[in-house]
């Protein structure tokens, strides 16, 4: 599985599978939130055991890093598995909140502050 090219990227060669409108593997960050689609698409190919484990895990929204930790697999490997699931229409992926450090983020920051204050 870990073919390991010179740069150590497991991901890059596969992002060239080309021309898809769906997000590529590059779109999975550590805190991208993944959720299983319900009901699962009927026509999709039968998932592998690792895929099934991930699907069970993300019945509730869960972050990529968390899946990797719970499966005890490197993030780079999990991202490949997630990309398979995404392409099969079995999961949705929500990218993290991109921080602009601008006015738009005031509300978000205030929410974080309130949340931390409750700890």
């Amino acid at each position: 599985m870990t073919g390991g090219d010179a740069a150590g990227r497991l991901v890059r060669p596969f992002t060239l599978t080309g021309g898809r409108t769906r997000p590529s593997r590059a779109d999975f960050t550590l805190i991208t939130t993944v959720t299983a689609v319900e009901p699962q698409p009927a026509r999709a190919a039968r998932p592998q055991p690792e895929h099934l484990r991930i699907l069970r895990m993300c019945a509730q929204p869960v972050a990529v890093a968390e899946i990797a930790a719970r499966l005890d697999l490197p993030v780079s490997v999990v991202v490949i598995l997630l990309s398979d699931l995404l392409e099969a229409g079995r999961i949705t992926a929500r990218p993290p909140h991109l921080v602009s450090r601008a006015v738009d983020d005031l509300e978000l920051l205030q929410k974080v502050r309130d949340g931390l204050g409750r700890l």
């Binding site: 805190i31 993030v75 450090r101 005031l106 949340g115």
Partner: protein
Amino acid sequence: MRPTAPDAVKILVAGGFGVGKTTLVGSVSEIAPLRTEEPLTAAGLDVDDLAGIEEKRATTVALDFGRISIGQDLVLYLFGTPGQQRFWFMWNDLAIGALGAVVLVDVRRPESSFAAIDFFERRGIPFVVAVNGFHGRHPYPAAEIREALALPEHVQVLLCDARERASSRDVLLALIDQLIEAASGAAAS
């Protein structure tokens, strides 16, 4: 009834090896800190300083992280970032989308956090410096540490005990307050 994915943000916790990053993450996280390990390639290994790292770990880079759910629709992740310089190729990825960072400093080895400070300064990533007292003790006042680290005026220096939830929370709050102030300033201008 399908659950909606929450918005996700993160804060980085950086600093030298063994300074207490995972301790801080664990003290405020709602879950026991999780670990992911990524295999390293030879490119990441041509460095001298392996002191204090188990042999097993020499070929992987480990990230410890925790999570704080903020209401239904927002999750804050805390990532303890690898302190060793040779792991820093990972930092670009880690830094993307981060609200800001906490640089933890060990008073006994402040120099081990210099590199983290440099990194965030250069990247323009907002950060606070938190001095983690050994056994909660703080032999030096914050001002003295600020001077030792040659920190600019706008960087806050806090004394903390990473083992204590309230203390770690206050460090995070100080960072968020700094961000809010900056964002408010942007709004006013």
